[in-house]
Amino acid sequence: MLKSIKQKFRNWAFRRTVETGTVVLNQRRIYILPTRSGFGFALVLVLMLLGDINYDLSLGYVLTFLLAMLAMMSMLHAFRNLAHLQIHAGHIEPVFAGEAARFVFHFDNPGTLARYQIHLRDDAGHRTVCDLPARRSTAMQLDIPATRRGWMDSGRLSLYTEFPLGLFHAWSYLHFDVRALVYPQPAAPLPLPAQSAQNGTGKILAAGDEDFSGLRSYSPGDPLPRIAWKALAREQGLQVKQFSAPQGHELWLDWSHTPHPGLEQKLQVLTRWVLDADAQGLIYGLRLPDSELAPQNNPAHRTECLRRLALFGMPPPSRKRGEGAEPP
């Protein structure tokens, strides 16, 4: 109850806006409050002051005032530790559900001052910390577990520091227009679908090895087992054996062939099949209820398949500020 009120107050006090491009932390974006340890220190100072008055300790006054002013200056140092950092969001690799999405932010520290103990935290409490050397751009990576497929927003992040003495908490909110693409979690290993009625089983790529079709001269990169050692012995030069691949037989990974009834489970199975088929070098196509990808085998194809699976049935993303930095 209290927590939700706190959350509501925060949302009201610190407007939720989503940002694009580079954010510069100016003084209007940095908030500062004493920490619990800061309040504890204030209590220590009050006790010390009472002791000074009671025992008439002049040096005690000196010490108490020094510590109090030290604490005061530490507020300025905490503020400065965040001030004028320039931040932009970096590229985010797609991940599978169940893994952690790695949100990368680039912190540019243009001045001659090193920044220490800069923390980045999301509302759920995932955090990361690093120091930012002077005149350097440093990448900071925040891992947030991806639970659901589709686009994943980092949410609003707090960037905070309690440097130098832990007495003050200086913080700023960051909410970048960046999303991580989360693929469905691959299902447990299961065999690839059997040959369908229309199509044969998945066939291996053109460089098949079933029917020997002749020799050609060697070019760099050809695998060693394909070298025709006998031809070399016959002093015909370095030759490579060629095989013809069976054509017209492709593997279709079909929505309707998945064994499970549930939508998410079907997607998980298809994800598993895409991964397995790609790893085995098969030529495969993906057939979903609303779309179809022609059989191929290359990294771009794999990515596109996984992307279709990730976004299947998702409403098109609605962004507040047009099209942001969408990961490729």
């Binding site: 340890s37 010390m48 000196v62 108490t64 002013m69 200056m73 300025l76 001659t112 120091d131 130098p164």
Partner: protein, 642 residues
């Protein structure tokens, strides 16, 4: 817990606890030292910390032993002892950031307890050192992986920035007169004169170098033989010890101050007694003080903090000319059946002379002519002490002479009493004031003469006039027993000592003695009208904002990028030069493209130009920048001529 943090914390505890080492019970000091060493060893060797059970047992045993040793667990000394022990033990079960922060706070607390025992300048310096260690450790609690140099630098910056702010707070923070609550009995230590005198008590005191008080004369400085600082007046004698006795009534003192008013201020070190010291006789009293019927000055409460008071005394006076019969009777009291030979001598003087004044002169002549000597180490006296002294040993310190003289006077029927206090003092030309030390303690006599009242007679002057004219080191022939500095130290050493004392006097006056009155006086002098806490708070806020504002400006200038890269600056200079020669660099053009274009346009310069561009690129965007490459780059630029 990383190792540097543990070492930093050990250093903190060591620095804040070491001033306590001498006055803690020896076993606590050595236990703490051992625990610290053990902790350092565990950290060094990477062994695990002791189990909580072991620590619990050590803690329990330690606290129990302290409770038994002190017979209590309350009070200042016990509190300090417990704090030091517990802080040291805490170091052995350091488990997280919170523990470390707690230990930092604890060491701040122990640091302030050092001031119960000493608030000298040396202590202040040690405080700064300890504070630097504390801030450095604190920084490391928050920033575990910071390297040593920035750690020390940031700690020093924080501390230095706090200093001017602290000074402003020190001056302007509205001061409250303590104490706020009752202080424990052991809050103060005392040294100095007591209100009794027996053989040996003053000669023992005269071995002490400690400062009793300091005097600044605001008018003419009196002669040395007029600098009699009156302390307790002793009436009652039991054959061995003089005590103040008690007056049957409280008479109002009465004196005609006739001439030579002297204005001066005294800064009295705490001696935990109620009386104050003044020159005979005070005519204006400090606020709250009163004068007893024997002209002794008393404050309201025991002097347990350094106290400064202003007053005026008249050196020429008639005191209690109309003394009451009871008081005169008190001043004739003698112990019964003691010192028969002294009584006999006094009776013979009384028979020969009829005026009291001539008997006084006879007694002084007696001391002067009968081979008496002045020494710090007189032989022991028997039960008839005055007889032994007057007729056998004839060696003594001022208390022997004052005692014997008053005895003689009383035996001859002249009211007399012993006065203790200080005589003289050392002039400090650096600070233009006099230092009166415990070694200046003195005892003299007062006799009451009809028509003149109480008159001061110093029998010591009859034996050792140097004591009155100079100091005890001049008077005592064999002065090996005197403290080193009270003998005749080399000139440079006494000069150094005077300088140090002048400095410490300023320190006492302005730092340690800065109380509500001083604050009021200082602020009035600086032009604040009608000093009030509201005005102080206003000025304080204003001053703090200004200083912090200046700091902020200085601090924030490091945040912005400045193209103060010498490599780039040199390159830009070259581009400018070429632009003047008609080959300007296009805004989009990279260094290498530009160099190629220049090379094409000026084939003679091609080689040099491409070389410079290459060096520029590797220096500015390459991995490391070494001094050798930088020099070569500069040489190449210098050699480049259009």
């Amino acid at each position: 817990m990383n190792k540097p943090l543990v070492y930093s914390l050990i250093l903190c505890i060591l620095l804040v606890a070491s001033p306590h080492a001498t006055h803690l019970p020896p076993w606590v000091s050595s236990l703490c030292a051992m625990l610290l060493m053990w902790r350092a060893y565990l950290t060094y060797s990477g062994r695990p910390l002791p189990s909580r059970w072991l620590l619990f047992i050590i803690t329990l045993a330690g606290v129990a032993a302290i409770a038994i040793g002190f017979h209590t667990l309350f009070g200042r000394e016990v509190g300090v002892t417990l704090l030091v022990l517990l802080a040291t033990l805490k170091l052995l079960e350091l488990r997280g950031t919170r523990d470390a922060t707690g230990l930092i706070y604890l060491s701040c607390f122990i640091l302030i307890t050092d001031f119960f025992y000493s608030q000298s300048m040396a202590t202040a310096l040690l405080m700064f050192a300890a504070l630097l260690a504390i801030v450095a450790a604190w920084l490391r609690v928050q920033t575990p992986h910071i390297t040593f140099k920035p750690q020390l630098r940031i700690a020093a910056i924080l501390l230095l920035q706090a200093v001017p702010l602290m000074l402003l707070l020190f001056v302007l923070f509205p001061r409250v007169q303590g104490p706020l609550w009752g202080l424990p009995q052991d809050a103060y230590n005392s040294s100095g004169l007591s209100d009794t005198m027996s053989p040996g008590s003053l000669s023992k005191l005269s071995l002490s170098e400690a400062v009793a008080f300091r005097v600044t004369y605001r008018s003419a400085v009196p002669r040395r033989d007029q600098m009699y600082w009156r302390g307790p007046v002793l009436w009652q004698y039991d054959g061995r010890t003089w005590t103040t006795g008690s007056a049957p009534f409280n008479f109002a003192p009465h004196f005609d101050a006739t001439a030579q008013p002297i204005a001066y201020s005294v800064t009295l070190e705490p001696h935990n007694k109620k009386w104050l010291y003044a020159l005979d006789v005070p005519s204006t009293l400090p606020a709250g003080a009163r004068l007893s019927d024997d002209f002794q000055l008393f404050g309201k409460e025991a002097v347990n903090a350094r106290q400064r008071y202003e007053m005026i005394s008249n050196l020429v006076y008639h005191a209690n000319v109309e003394e009451s019969a009871q008081q005169r009777q008190r001043a004739l009291q003698l112990p019964k059946r003691l010192n028969p030979r002294t009584l006999e001598l006094a009776a013979s003087w009384r028979a020969a002379q009829n005026s009291d004044a001539s008997i006084v002169q006879t007694a002084l002549r007696y001391f002067n002519q009968q081979n008496f000597s002045y020494t710090l180490e007189p032989p022991l006296l028997g039960s008839n002490g005055v007889d032994d002294f007057l007729f056998q040993t004839r060696q003594g310190f001022c208390e022997h002479y004052a005692s014997a003289f008053v005895y003689l006077m009383r035996a001859a029927g002249i009211p007399a009493r012993v006065v203790t206090g200080y005589l003289g003092g050392e002039f400090n030309a650096v600070g233009n004031y006099y230092i009166v030390r415990q070694s200046d303690a003195h005892a003299w006599a007062e006799v009451w003469l009809a028509g003149q009242g109480w008159v001061r007679v110093d029998p010591t002057a009859a034996i050792a006039p140097e004591r009155v004219q100079k100091n005890s080191s001049a008077a005592v022939k064999n002065n090996a027993a005197l403290p080193f500095m009270a003998r005749n130290p080399p000139l440079w050493l006494s000069k150094l000592r005077l300088n140090l004392d002048a400095l410490s006097n300023q320190w006492n006056q302005w730092v340690l003695g800065y109380n509500p009155e001083r604050q009021f006086a200082l602020l009035t002098r600086m032009g604040m009208k009608d000093v009030s806490w509201q005005k102080m708070a206003r000025d304080l806020m204003l001053g703090l904002s200004i200083i912090i504002g200046v700091f902020a400006l200085l601090m924030f200038r490091h945040l912005f990028a400045r193209s103060n890269d010498p490599v780039q600056a040199a390159w830009l200079r070259l581009c400018k030069k070429l632009a003047k020669a008609g080959l300007p660099r296009a805004p989009h053009e990279g260094a290498l493209d530009y160099a190629r274009r220049v090379a094409a346009a000026r084939p003679k310069l091609a080689c040099q130009m491409l070389d410079i561009a290459g060096r520029y690129l590797s220096l500015r965007y390459g991995e490391a920048r070494d001094a050798e490459a930088l020099r070569a780059y500069r040489d190449a630029l210098r050699a480049f001529k259009l």
